[in-house]
Symmetry: C2
Subunit: 126 residues, 2 copies
Amino acid sequence: MADRKKRPADKVNLARKFELFEEYWKPKIVGEVNDFHVKIVKVRGEFVWHRHEKEDELFLVTKGRLIVRLRERDVALGEGEFFVVPHGVEHKPVAEHEAHVVLLEPKSAVNTGDAAGARTAAAEWI
Amino acid sequence: MADRKKRPADKVNLARKFELFEEYWKPKIVGEVNDFHVKIVKVRGEFVWHRHEKEDELFLVTKGRLIVRLRERDVALGEGEFFVVPHGVEHKPVAEHEAHVVLLEPKSAVNTGDAAGARTAAAEWI
């Protein structure tokens, strides 16, 4: 059922949104599709190993290269490539140089999953 | 709760997936994220006016230009731009020349929404 009629938001230009911030590993929300958020994040260096109990997580690279490390293999993503980490699967994103990544995941997802700590960051709209 | 441990699928190169088919307005599934599908579609010409009762729908252009017509305005999308049509909002996608579009929507979404007919097509994995 349509719970309410929502006004369409504006269109989003991904490259321009990435110009609005500098910091790494702090996802920003740029869109919502039902109970999902579209987020963007700049990455460089290594993130922490973690997993999401319920949420699958899509990583789409729009600039640079990202390695999604899994326990049994590495998945190397270039521009225009995406990978979905299923819920429950441990992963560690790594980027040698700055990369721009679009994330797609349920709104309930927290960036560090089961590994809450210094890297945990609440995403805000940008 | 993690209902089961799912094996990660392979990574997806969007440009290569678009090389696998020619026809317009027939979305193909290229990924799943919980109860959402990631689809790709080649478009050219005009689609039908329709709306989705429950599903928001994200259109991300990766090649060419797409106009998402709404009753009160047109939204013109170029490469690297996306727009979310909220559920309940009538829309009609139009492209003068061939364009490549990534769709993100709940698995329950049907391409023609409330306007089932000749253009209705069940999406299949590619």
